[in-house]
């Protein structure tokens, strides 16, 4: 059986990839995907602990997270489409409308 630490290290790696993606990518869609990566890294941690501790609560929370992530993706993509229609760009560094 694969030990617990391996799962956690994998989860941390995936999470870090997500964080770096959010911070440095210049495309909103990729940033949104990076956020999904971070969410799923957390989901992985939940599942692993659920399995190792023999408790179902972690899995229940994962279903919640997936439901919320689906909703978030819908809203996020809708906003991105709306922004693209106005600005013809998806580069977040160009989106500084509130800055005077």
């Amino acid at each position: 059986m694969v030990p617990l630490n391996h799962y956690l290290i994998l989860s941390a790696i995936v999470f870090t990839i997500g964080v770096i993606g959010v911070l440095i990518r210049r495309n909103l869609i990729v940033i949104l995907m990076s956020i999904e990566l971070m969410l799923n890294a957390v989901n992985l941690t939940f599942i692993v602990f659920s399995r190792f501790l023999g408790s179902m609560e972690g899995q229940v929370i994962v279903f919640f997270v997936m439901a919320v992530a689906a909703a978030e993706a819908v809203v996020g993509l809708a906003i991105i489409i709306a922004i693209f229609r106005h600005r013809q760009t998806l580069d977040p560094s160009e989106m500084q409308f509130l800055k005077w």
């Binding site: 964080v19 959010v22 911070l23 977040p92 560094s93 989106m95 500084q96 409308f97 800055k99």
Partner: protein, 644 residues
Amino acid sequence: MVAATQSPVTLDLLRWIPLIPLLTSVFNVFFGARLGKKGAGVLACVAVGASFAIALYVFWLLPAAGIFRDTLYTWIESGSFQVQLSFQVDDLTAVMLLVVTGIGFLIHIYSLGYMAHDEGMARFFVYLNLFIFFMLVLVMADNLLALFVGWEGVGLCSYLLISFWYEEPLNVIAGNKAFVVNRIGDFGFTLAIFLIVSELGRQGIWTLNFMELQKHVGLLSPGKITLITLLLFVGATGKSAQIPLFVWLPDAMAGPTPVSALIHAATMVTAGVYMAARLHFLFSLAPDTMSLIATIGAATAFFAGSIAIAQNDIKKVLAYSTVSQLGYMFLAVGVGAFSAAIFHVFTHAFFKACLFLGAGSVIHALGGEQDMRKMGGLKSYLPKTYWTYLIAAVAISGVPFTAGFFSKDLILWQAYNNPQSGPILWAVGWFTAGLTAFYMFRQLLLVFHGECRADEHVKAHIHESPPVMTIPLMILALGSIFAGWLGAPEYLWGSVWERRFEQMFGVHGEHLGSLTTEISLMLVTLAIVGLGILLAYVSYGRGVRLPERLSSLAGGGLYRLLLNKYYVDELYDFFIVRPFTAVSRFLAQVFDPWVIDGAVNGIAASARGVSFLWRGVQSGNVQHYLVGFLAGTLALLAYYLGQQ
């Protein structure tokens, strides 16, 4: 000393005495122009007449009740501190009420004639009615704060009416001067009110009601009472034109003559005396203040009287005469003879109003001329004015069996009997009586006797005033004689007045001197009055004797000193007004733009500078913010992990 604490009887009628003039005033503001000059004027007269009628009715009811009160509503309520807006009438208020509404009514009627040719007649009556309202609030207030409202209100109306002809810049300056000088006095008055509230409040008595104050006056320490009364007296010197704040009253003659008669002779300027009498229980506990008041009163009486003998403007003479007579009233207050002071207020209202209205009639006849050097011989042109003027002049001079004789002798007698000041103050008052007789008869002779010195075309238009002006004059002239008979001394038929006020002010003047002293003092006073009249007749009586005669008689320097009013205005200008304006100019032109604006702008500029530094942090780029977010999270994480 403490009056029997009568419980006031409620009488809802009282509120209408001040309210009727107020309502008419407001009505005339909006509809006066539509009513026309005459309509507005008649309406105003009817209003004051109605107030007078109610006041008479209340006066008739008063002996049975003792004190009437009419509470409108609670004005201020803060914890246990309460100020009611309520009107109260006792004997003292009743006298003032009759003077204000009665004399006010006559002067209103007179104004119908005097102001008939003026465009602003409706406005004039709006102010005049408003004045009557505030004056009635002043005398009917049952607490110090409501009195102060009336006190300020009459000051406002005085200002409005002095600068009534506002096209003339001098009138506006005179109005401003009156307002500013009064403000100096009011400063003392407000401080006194604060002091009373805080001193009594500290001991659990939160009140400004006169009856309550009188009940609890024992709680105040003597030092505090002296301070309070001194501050109140500062207020009184402003309103009642005493040294050192008398300078506004002569300039106030810039207003229409009925205003001078009503506000600056008969009613408003006596408010200080009324206030002292109303708070007699405070003043009589402060002997130091009292002797100061007596001294200032006597000094003012003499000082103003001596200025009056050298003035050439018909109204200026009367103005200084008013200041002088107010000095007599404060002399009476200072020796504790409150009823004598109010008695002089009462008699003075008649003869001084009569003199002012007579002067107004003369000015009216001469088409606005006020210089007595261009008058003379008007006796045959204006017989009614002349005779009423003569009666009033005789009354103010103190010729026996006229009003001024009784009230002035009463004051002098009380001053003589005062153990503290005694004969010195009496002597000053005595000499001033001679001055009074001299300047009044000088004026009478200059204006009505001798040859007419007016220009030919002015002469052609001289006419006696219409009955609407002469009838008030005659009524006032009658009052100038008979008003004094209420307060005759014991050696004649005794004083109704004194008996009426015994209960309020306590039995005063334990008659230290004997009857023979009193009569001989009276004769000595008569002698100097006679001398004054004689001197006036010798100087100005036969033929035309211009004032130069007096100037050579008294030595040129003294005459110039008197003519220029002892240079008081110039002294004030040099020592107070100019340093004050210099400081103001410095503040306005240097301190304000550099220091105040500099500080304000400096704070604004430094805030902008700091913001400019920090605005770099807010790039507007979401990813930059997220870096900060991440850094913060990591720092928190490191912190909590480090703790374990």
